[in-house]
Subunit: 203 residues, 2 copies
């Protein structure tokens, strides 16, 4: 097994933190996106979408998508549980993972792509208008998370889960992009201090 | 148990088709989004995001997010499998579900929101520019799916899965929005004829 990943990719970071939390060791191979290494023919053969992370299995097949990779490891190493210990817990963690992905991670990733990978098809005014819309979406999600975290320690309940890992990686990307999130959100800030002080956050 | 859902919601349709494929009967309660019924205080108490579908469990708690609801039923009723029968199959179906969600369903849903729920913050030019960008994203996903379906019957492999259900619902929404998808994509068209002719597609 081998994990193709990139140090500055937030999706790769999800898998690195997940593996650190589980205590699973997998060899990493760096794919430098900034130098086009995720779009070589050799890499496209592993993931046609040209995205990291990609897990290479021992049978030579490849698995893409951060959460699919984590879920695969979860089946092989169920403890400590990061996807839930019974059907209801698993469904609630899936609900929260989807909320983080769709309402928080996606708008922040679109801001990133807009700033750094815009193909010039959009006017400056259109680009500004989209950025305002996406930042507003990310802040609405952050407000919802703050309200949730007023009532419990972690996003999906009393225990740290894959939903927290996803939110932490997006939170870091939002900080890097200077998207203002937490000044008004004390519970989110407390949560961020907690999850970012775990040893896994440096993975 | 009770499923709050809306006939014209593509997320609700995912759950309806899933339940029909599994032969599971659950009472439905209609929430007419067009009349604001998903934003009443009573409904917000069930799902703070004001979205359908929502599953009400027998203990009075609520579960939102289409795929979280389907995954919950999958644990209670494993056969016929729509999420995979072993760790590798489950990971591959998760990978394809995420590709459908992020690369296909999300751009098409953004076109829908842009046309019907734009809050007037965007200029007509910005709105047109975003629509072109999102349509182009949806077509790129459709092209990728077409190439994949040249080699197998269904998106995630030889068997029909939750990834096909998700793609079918988005495909229908793209048709309703007149987003041109399939004229150039014969394998996608063959797949669509196959999945839309299953009895579950009328659920």
């Amino acid at each position: 097994m081998k994990l193709y990943q990139y140090i500055y990719s937030d999706s790769s970071m999800r898998v690195r933190i997940y593996l650190a939390e589980k205590g699973i060791e997998v060899p990493f191979e760096s794919v430098d996106i900034s130098r086009g290494e995720s779009h070589t023919p050799a890499f496209i053969a592993k993931n046609p979408l040209g995205q990291v992370p990609v897990l290479e299995l021992d049978d030579g097949s490849h698995l893409a998508e951060s959460i699919a990779i984590c879920r695969y490891f979860e089946e092989l190493h169920p403890e400590p549980s990061l996807f839930g210990r019974n059907p209801k817990e698993r469904a609630e963690i899936e609900m929260w993972s989807r909320r983080v992905e769709l309402a928080f991670a996606q708008p922040v990733q679109r801001v990133y792509r807009l700033r750094f990978h815009s193909n010039g098809a959009l006017s400056a005014a259109a680009q500004d208008a989209i950025e305002v819309m996406e930042q507003s979406g990310a802040r609405a999600a952050a407000r919802f998370f703050d309200q949730t975290l007023a009532q419990r320690d972690f996003l999906a309940g009393a225990d740290y889960s894959i939903a927290d890992i996803m939110a932490l990686c997006t939170y870091g990307m939002a900080q890097m992009l200077h998207i203002p999130l937490d000044p008004d959100f004390p519970h989110l800030r407390r949560w961020h201090e907690s999850v970012s002080s775990r040893p896994s956050a440096r993975a």
